[in-house]
Symmetry: C2
Amino acid sequence: MKETTAPDCSISASLDILGDRWTILILRDAFRGVRRFEDFRRDLTIARPVLTERLKRLVERGVLERQLYCERPPRYEYRLTEMGMALSPALVALMRWGDQYLSAGDAPTVLVHDACGHPLDQQFVCWECDETFTQYDIASRPGPGASTVS
Amino acid sequence: MKETTAPDCSISASLDILGDRWTILILRDAFRGVRRFEDFRRDLTIARPVLTERLKRLVERGVLERQLYCERPPRYEYRLTEMGMALSPALVALMRWGDQYLSAGDAPTVLVHDACGHPLDQQFVCWECDETFTQYDIASRPGPGASTVS
DNA sequence: ATAGGTGAGTTCGGATTCAGAACCAAGTCG
DNA sequence: CGACTTGGTTCTGAATCCGAACTCACCTAT
């Protein structure tokens, strides 16, 4: 088997930011529209120091941005950046997996196509062939940033 | 080991299984074809006890299965179950996010459509409207398993 | 003006968890 | 035989996480 090591894998880079339970739950809340420190804290029942630290990290890495929404007293809210919004396929995938395998067929929340209200699906798409397909039709090959050669 | 959270949300249920860094890296390796204890350990440079514990948990939860591949001496390998395979959209999404935002435009690995070799995309699909769309066209509503509303 | 409440943090111990090394067992190879 | 491999387990000190309590700045009602 060829050498496929951790360092040049984007998954481990992503996990450097998202790699703990709380961070992902914070982002889930952010997608639901939660923006303020105290709202995150109450909803997650997360300890304050942990929330402080996670929010700071997410802001540093560019996933959230901290915006003043009240001058006196200074109050900030945390909003998803474009980079943060781009995580939605990952969160949706996690949620659908949980729905399918962990909640006995009763999904607590259903995501729908805004335009028509019908449940959405998530698929891999090939724009060349112009068709959708599943994980069984995926292959991989080294990309431009590949460093190791087998 | 704590089973946190009554999941008002399938994401937190998923995170109960996947909620730490090592677990996801183990699954990433599993998708790449790694199957044996010692191969996981070497590739991830993870401490043995941690790997033992994570593999055991993944087997208990049904994400991996432990199969005898050698009778004398008894040797086992860890393979993705169907439930484990179903995580691929989540891992693919994570990888693509890392590619796009964390690796300066140089993706270490590119996923392609096996049939034609062209890079794949990941999209939301509505089978009613028969069209693909992005995260900006998603809405959510309570599903059959909704208990607490927020 | 003062007492109480709130939003956003910080400080500080104690409990987990982790890494690293040593140890074990069962078998194989030289 | 003795060395080596795979797949673990047990131990221990170090790093990390987390919750409770405290702070600080401001607002509101009395």
